[in-house]
């Protein structure tokens, strides 16, 4: 082992030169608050993101349960919520409450669960560990990145109690419903809080993205060339770049919407419209007023989807990276086609910027433009397909260890196939004319984001939990958790395809009074039963998580016999991560290598 470098103290910004490692730190004692709350340690911040993400996952799940109750048994006594909020109408929810339920469900799950868990929690925890850095490039910025989520959460929760109830224009917040205060109860103050929450989430993501890109670019250990980086790191890098380029557009758009709401700028409001007998064009209501709306509702849709479609890939690329790594470790076999995997992720990211218009095929957009978007959208299926084939290629001829993380990672592949394939219908413009905004779309994106990303998150938690807490999660309970989760997830989402083919619209509080939909109630009831079971089944996870944190089996550095750098540290790693000098000799996937007797060959072992 090499001696530690003489001094890193003189370097600015806490940047460690590539490959330098604090072998023994000056053990400055930090208090509880600095260590666990306002910490600049990337591992603590990652775990903080994980805890808040999981708490919000429960909240988002509860909102989903309320939605499922209404869809199974419209206008009956809703348990708990009805009692608390609607005693005077017999504990039956009101329709505007339903609209804010699905708005908040979408917002919470996307902006407070999936993105923070994937990039916030695992991005923070893994990047320095996997590339061999002592911490992030900008540790303080990293801390601010987490604490920027605090105002976001504050405004989000404030939205629930806002005058008129929670924001209710859908997570897509299409104007004029969202911009005109009188258009919906949730568009009173709730929508303003929603926009503020979103802006703070954006600030947090932006700080994270800057940090990730810089860290990966500048702080890799000696020998860690970019094509020796694990696919998780590639995925996090690419999604950080997506964030950097797409987020400013959303931030600008949400400020424009905010201005429309509070200053009546009318960016998204066409002239001369009256909503709920209030003029949206303030020059009509008050001829003295100088403002006259001259905007267009479709402008918001373009701006919103210019961010939110890449955001879909931000929500799935890291999941793909984690799945690749976890599959390779537990299959004891190198990733099949490492470079094609990298290029396909880059391809997804590149194409991801020119497919946003497929959300707008029925919006009144120029149909010729629609054709162009169709071709780009259809082609984005290609890199996803390549990835699936490569995962199966990785499994082929492998020696699978059926551990819980492996089951979740393979579950991710299985579910992503469904989510990916059903996307082709949505890309096909004439078919989309019929299925746009039906339950087939709901099925599609839940297969990608829930059955895909959340499964990958579960896989990642089971896989890296030992590194985070130095203890294994219980395998038996983990398998029970997987079994039910996998079964019920399909129970919930699979038949939504059929609902969609039958034409059922999403965001409809009570579809059964339509002749076309009346016969779909039994199917929705069954789906709701599966949903309740799925939610209840997570008891196993919660129990396993907390129980293992304190009483799980203690393990050493490398319980999975994995190759990448994070397993070369103590579990959990101390401040500064690595306790010895690092040098990387090879890529992270040298499993079953004939060079050594064991079936794994860590990146740092010299042969």
């Amino acid at each position: 082992m090499n001696p530690p470098p003489s001094s890193t103290e003189s370097l600015p910004l806490g940047l460690a030169p590539a490959g330098t490692v604090h072998v023994h730190h000056d053990h400055h004692e930090v208090g509880f608050i600095r260590k666990y709350i306002f910490s600049t340690d990337h591992k603590v911040i990652g775990i903080q993101f994980m805890f808040t993400g999981l708490v919000f996952l429960v909240l988002g799940g509860l909102l989903a349960m309320a939605i499922r109750w209404q869809l199974a048994y419209p206008w009956t006594e809703m348990p708990v919520v009805g009692k608390m909020l609607f005693p005077e109408t017999g504990r039956v929810i009101s329709p505007e409450f339903y609209t804010s339920l699905f708005t908040m469900h979408g917002t919470v799950m996307i902006f407070f669960v999936i993105i923070p868990l994937l990039t916030g929690a695992f991005g923070n925890f893994l990047i320095p560990l996997m590339i061999g850095a002592p911490d992030m490039a900008f540790p303080k910025l990293n801390m601010f990145g987490y604490w920027a989520m605090a105002p976001a959460m504050f405004f989000l929760l404030l939205g629930f109690g806002a005058e008129g109830g929670g924001p209710a224009a859908g997570w897509t917040a299409y104007p004029p419903l969202s911009t005109v205060l009188e258009a919906a109860p949730g568009s009173m103050s709730g929508q303003t809080f929603w926009l503020l929450a979103l802006t703070w989430v954006g600030i947090s993501s932006m700080m994270g993205a800057v940090n990730y890109v810089t860290t990966i670019a500048k702080m890799r250990a000696p020998g860690m060339t970019i094509f020796r980086m694990p696919l998780s790191i590639w995925a996090l890098l690419i999604s950080a770049i997506l964030q950097l380029f797409a987020l400013p557009v959303l931030t600008a758009a949400s400020f424009m919407q905010l201005f429309d709401r509070v200053l009546h700028t009318g960016f998204f409001t066409p002239p001369d419209i009256i909503i709920n007998n209030a003029s949206a064009d303030y020059s009509v209501a008050d001829p003295e007023a100088a403002s006259a709306a001259g905007g267009h509702p479709l402008l918001w849709q373009h701006l919103f989807w210019f961010y939110s479609h890449p955001a879909v890939y931000i929500m799935v690329l890291p999941a793909m990276g984690f799945a690749s790594d976890i599959i390779s470790v537990h299959a004891r076999k190198p990733v099949f086609g490492y470079k094609p995997m990298v290029y396909s992720m880059a391809g997804i990211a590149g194409l991801g910027f020119i497919v946003w218009g497929h959300h707008m095929f029925t919006s009144g957009m120029n149909p010729t433009v629609g054709m162009v978007f169709m071709v780009s959208t259809v082609m984005i299926a290609l890199p996803s397909a390549i990835k699936v084939f490569n995962w199966i290629g990785t499994l082929w001829g492998s020696r699978i260890r059926l551990t819980t993380p492996m089951l979740y990672a393979m579950g991710f592949v299985s579910m992503f196939i469904i989510g990916g394939l059903s996307g082709i219908w949505m890309a096909a413009t004439p078919v989309d004319v019929y299925i746009h905004d039906t339950y087939i779309v709901v099925a599609h994106f839940h297969y990608v984001v829930f059955a895909g990303s959340v499964f990958a998150i579960f896989a990642a938690i089971y896989h890296w939990f030992p590194k985070m807490f130095g203890r294994l999660m219980n395998e038996t309970i983990g398998k029970i958790h997987f079994f039910g989760t996998f079964l019920f997830t399909n129970g919930v989402f699979y038949m939504m395809h059929q609902l969609g083919v039958a034409g059922l619209m999403r965001r409809t509080a009570d579809p059964y009074s339509y002749e076309t939909y009346a016969h779909l109630q039994p199917l929705n009831e069954a789906i709701s039963m599966f949903a309740f079971a799925l939610f209840a089944w997570q008891v196993f996870f919660v129990w396993n998580f907390f129980h293992s944190m304190f009483w799980g089996k203690r393990i050493g550095r490398n319980p999975w016999q994995a190759n990448s750098l994070e397993w070369d540290t103590p579990s959990p790693p101390g401040h500064g991560n690595f306790d010895h000098q690092l040098e990387v000799f090879r890529g992270p996937y040298e499993y079953a290598s004939p060079q050594v007797e064991e079936d794994y060959l860590p990146q740092t072992r010299k042969v």
């Binding site: 419903l177 009256i274 490492y338 199966i392 089951l407 413009t429 395998e475 038996t476």
Partner: protein, 275 residues
């Protein structure tokens, strides 16, 4: 480390993974028996949309069974306890080329197969053409009706006898929209307030109504009957109750209905007198 006895886990999870393709295919095959499939199809471009859906369905189903099958095989076969190491392979260039090129071609085929139907539905040049491609009675410039969407109301407006939509004797019909059968119907879709979407599942037709825009839409209904009109874009708390009904009438009945409405405009109210 695996918790369960190894063989139990192996069989259990293989079965679990194999359920996905089996139940997946089975639900699609049997959905129609339960009525959980396409509703009746009455417009001229509807069958084309369904055919394109089916085309994709077949391709998707093939890929689905293939990939899920391979995955299940891996889960079962390669989780078998073995003493030997895994195959040491970092990939195969030729294989990568094949599974890039083949899907690419298939995807392009899918994309180009859509374009004709898309143009038929959406391009204004194709609106209102009859089966022979000749201009029909109604055109984008002189539509049969205007449909106004507003929170939470659908309202058709038919022109007066001079074909004028701004005339004093325009016929307005809330909720119920009447159209002639076997006629290319062109109408202008408008919104008074927020976004709405005109969706008639049986016509396979969906189009957003955007305030500030006049969007021409067309369809040609082939069967007499009444069909649900559903708002397909979130438009506020009452979105779910924003319903309408499109009544497809034989041509002469439609003419008679419209004439009847024009006359009924000048009713003197005596029908409301108590008997």
């Amino acid at each position: 480390m695996t918790g369960f006895p190894a063989y139990v886990a192996r069989v259990l999870f293989t079965v679990l993974f194999v359920l996905v393709p089996i139940l997946g295919v089975w639900t699609f095959v049997t959905a129609d028996d339960y009525g959980w499939w396409f509703p009746q199809n009455v417009s001229t471009f509807g069958p084309k949309i369904d055919a394109l859906f089916d085309l994709i369905l077949w391709m998707v189903a093939f890929t689905f069974v293939l990939t899920e099958g391979a995955l299940v095989w891996c889960v079962y076969w390669y989780s078998k306890p073995r003493t030997s190491k895994a195959v040491f392979s970092h990939g195969n260039h030729k294989l990568e080329m094949v599974w890039t090129a083949v899907p690419a071609v298939l995807l392009l085929v899918i994309a180009f197969a859509q374009m004709g139907t898309w143009a038929e539905i959406k391009f204004t040049a194709n609106m209102g053409l009859d089966e022979n491609g000749e201009p029909g009675q109604y055109t984008v410039e002189a539509p049969m009706m205007e449909i106004y969407a507003s929170q939470f109301d659908w309202r058709a407006r038919y022109p007066d006898r001079d074909g004028n939509f701004n005339g004093i004797d325009v016929v307005e019909s809330p909720y119920d929209i009447y159209v002639p059968v076997d006629t290319p119907v062109v109408f202008h879709l408008k919104s008074r307030d927020v976004l709405h979407a005109f969706f008639v599942p049986q016509f396979r037709l969906k189009q957003d109504a955007v305030p500030g825009m006049t969007i021409p839409v067309w369809f040609n209904a082939q069967e007499v009957g009444s069909y649900d009109l559903i708002c397909a874009e979130l438009c506020g708390w009452g979105h779910y109750k924003m319903a309408g009904r499109v009544h497809v009438l034989p041509k002469d009945e439609y003419e008679a209905w419209l004439e009847g409405q024009r006359e009924a405009l000048y009713a003197n109210g005596s029908a409301d007198l108590a008997e």
